[in-house]
Amino acid sequence: MRRTNKRGPDSCIDAVGCEASGHGSADAVLDKVKAATFLATDRVHVLRQAIMACRKAGTVSIPGVYVGMGDKIPLGAAMNKGLTIKTGQTHVQAYTKPLLAKIVAGEIDPSFVVTHPASLEDAPGMYQKFRDKEAGVIKVVMRPGR
């Protein structure tokens, strides 16, 4: 807030999606209970924060994946603050050519995200480690056909 003259960020990006942990905050605990009892499917803690934090007339971009129903999304805040909410599964085919050109030109090297090369047979264990945020697992890459 200090950095934005107390206006709030111009744009907020929710890159977490439906499994926000919320670190034990009251709304996140309620989300977990609701998901466990089938009263809701998605845990929308991050989306709530993004809407509440975003400056008036700002933009909330949601690349994080949501799958079903979320509860207590502050639509009143979004409406009254005049937010723009943009989201969607990626239109991948629209971006592959220009982004490949950036990689080939050496402008960007996305391989920096790879933390764990693994075999396909290792995959079940890697899913578990990735889910439980163990051993620094961020990106597992497997090479089954080589």
């Binding site: 807030m1 709030g8 960020p9 111009d10 744009s11 907020c12 990006i13 929710d14 890159a15 977490v16 999606g17 439906c18 499994e19 926000a20 919320g22 670190h23 924060q49 993004a50 934090a53 933009t59 971009s61 949601i62 690349p63 994080g64 994946v65 799958v67 079903g68 989201t87 969607g88 599964q89 990626t90 239109h91 991948v92 085919q93 629209a94 971006y95 592959t96 490949l100 990689i103 080939v104 090297d109 996305p110 391989s111 920096f112 995200v113 790879v114 396909l120 047979e121 995959a123 899913y127 990735f130 945020k133 961020i138 990106k139 597992v140 890459v141 497997m142 090479r143 056909g145 080589r146």
Partner: protein, 244 residues
């Protein structure tokens, strides 16, 4: 072939399953040379996504070598090295014609189920439930690629698999997130999910990339993003006060 199959919440196993084959003239079959586990695969692993069935093959970040082609795929050759977008799109419908490929009207054979849940059906996706097409994913030795004349992009040998693979999802996803954020020069951008959630890793990179063409844009996040040729000290990496 060997493939990573979903069997229930928290239960994935590597099984031996039938090899994929050409089922339509616009199909290709590729030998998977690299594939990745996406943060959204964890939603499947944790049982959040409806309409998963036991035995479904996971994986939507895929690349490989073309080993078989349908008769209508004329832009690829056997042996081509390709990255496959996770969205399956026909290229011809109202949405595809407007570049809205993930909204393709024709690639979800289970569109009725998706429409009941969402009003209309989005595009089919690799390895992402029956509601979204029931297509087998690529965490496997081989993958059938529908609409292979539209999706796969040929990769030059000057770059490695690890450099190219993320064109399948997380690099364009982070980039589109930054485009959707409608960043203007001088803007401050807050990003949630710069931890282990993989698709978020390219969002700061992409914000900054957009910023590179808008010299006064400043993007800040908890993640440190590298860029060739730029001294790290010139990039601000201070934490936002509203980080998750």
């Amino acid at each position: 072939m060997r493939a990573l199959c979903w069997h229930g919440r928290g239960d994935v196993r590597v099984d031996t399953v039938p090899d994929p084959k050409i089922e339509h003239p616009r199909d290709a079959v590729i030998k998977i040379t690299a594939c990745a586990i996406c943060g959204s695969d964890l939603h499947l692993f944790d049982g959040y996504q409806p309409t998963m069935e036991s035995g479904d093959i996971l994986g939507h970040e895929n690349m490989g070598e073309v080993i078989e082609l349908g008769s209508e795929v004329t832009n690829l050759n056997i042996g081509d090295r390709v990255v496959v977008p996770f969205t399956i799109s026909c290229g011809n419908c109202w949405f595809c014609q407007r570049g809205l490929f993930s909204c393709c009207d024709r690639t979800n054979p289970n569109a009725e189920i998706a429409a009941k849940a969402m009003g209309q059906s989005p595009a089919g996706l690799f390895g992402f439930s029956h509601m979204l097409g029931g297509y087998s994913g690529g965490q496997a030795e081989y993958l059938r690629v529908p609409m292979a004349d539209i999706g796969p992009i040929k990769i030059p040998h000057s770059i490695t698999d690890e450099q190219a693979l993320f064109l399948s999802d997380i690099f364009p996803t982070g980039y589109m997130a930054a485009v959707n954020a409608q960043i203007q020069p001088g803007d401050t951008v807050a990003i949630w999910g710069c931890g282990p959630s993989a698709s978020s890793r390219s969002a700061p990179l992409s914000c900054w990339e957009l910023g590179a063409s808008l010299p006064s844009t400043k993007c800040r996040s908890v993640w440190q993003w590298p860029k060739p040729g730029v001294p790290k000290s010139s990039i601000s990496r201070r934490r936002t006060s509203m980080r998750n």
